[in-house]
Amino acid sequence: MRAEPLELAVLEPERFTRADWEELFREATRGLDPWALDLTALLGRFREFLAKTPVELRVPGRMVFASSVLLRMKSERMDGATTLAEAVAAVLAAEEAAARAEPEPLPALRLPLRRRPRARLTLADLRRAFLAVQGRPPKPKEKPKATLPVEEEPFSLRAARLLQRLLRLVNGSRFVPFSRLVPADDPGEKVARFLELLHLDGQGQVRLHQPEFLGEILVEVPHGP
């Protein structure tokens, strides 16, 4: 048989403060360790209580909604705010004030000072280091860095002299290989002559050709004899 829904008067708040509820709690927890409640036993006792007492726990949704509206109205009245918008504004204002407030000074963080341990050396360490040095051949002397020859003569004069030399070398053909102008084993001399040739090329006195990639440079003397 289905039980009838409870009347509103049954749910009055005062009922929950009555002594019989306290008695119910005492009865339900009697003999249990308050620091380690046996939930299974507690649940069993509560189910026994429900079985003995006919209670209808189903509540219509409309009733819940009406109760929530009443509760909100009551809380607004108690808070002194007349409308919900004012209550919301009051809450927001309180939050802003809290955000603006100076934070509480935190205690200074003090880290302990610790020493980075460094092992004290022993004679065995010194001997190991000595043997390591002995086992290694002396370091070779560093090779002196190659430097470009410093020529006292003005660059334009050297370029003019190179042009005269080219004119002397031109014989029938107007092309002179670059390798004929410099000794093969002197990179500094090669660089110096090449810079002079670039200067002459810029002036239109010679033209430089390199038919093959990284191959011989041919110096053309267009105004040769």
Binding site: R118, R120, L121, P138, K139
Partner: protein, 170 residues
């Protein structure tokens, strides 16, 4: 605050020898109080029940593990007191002292100049000008550090022939 406690704490955290004047300035103590504290600390640490000693290096004071315990506690100290290249330069100087700086540089390379500078700062090596170069000798502080009585003993430990010369700077 007890000056001895302050001096002990400063020496514990420092990674280099601290001179009494530097301790006095850093701790805000008169220098005579620092000297008294150092003497009391050295006395405290003398007993066999203590693992540390107050050492003198390069005009300053250091707290260090006693030489006879160094090997036993090595596993707890991941870093060596002197970097390996510096230690090798020190080994060359110890084996050949007195030796010219040029000779050490010839053996150890150009970085030996920096190594020698560090060793002089630590008070392990003394460098004296001699013409265009310097002559390097080991100091009493170095002998005390390795727990040997003489350079001869140090060289025996390195298995260096004794004919290579001997000189110790105070």
């Amino acid at each position: 605050m007890d000056p001895k406690a302050l001096v002990e704490a400063a020496l514990f955290v420092a990674d280099r020898p601290l001179a009494p004047a530097e301790l006095a300035q850093g701790l805000g103590l008169p220098e005579h109080a620092v000297l008294r504290a150092l003497a009391a600390l050295a006395e405290d640490l003398e007993g066999d029940e203590r693992g540390l000693e107050l050492g003198q290096e390069g005009g300053g004071y250091v707290l260090r593990v006693k030489a006879e315990l160094a090997e036993r506690v090595r596993a707890f100290a991941p870093h060596q007191d002197l970097a390996e290249p510096v230690l090798r330069t020190l080994a060359v100087i110890a084996a050949r002292a007195p030796v010219s700086q040029a000779e050490v540089v010839r053996i150890r390379g150009q970085r030996a100049y920096a190594h020698i500078k560090e060793l002089v700062a630590r008070g392990f090596v003394r460098a004296e000008d001699q013409g265009p170069t310097k002559v390097l000798t080991v100091t009493e502080d170095l002998l005390r550090y390795f727990g040997v009585a003489s350079l001869e003993e140090l060289r025996r430990a390195l298995e260096v022939p004794s004919s290579e010369g001997q000189s110790v700077a105070g």
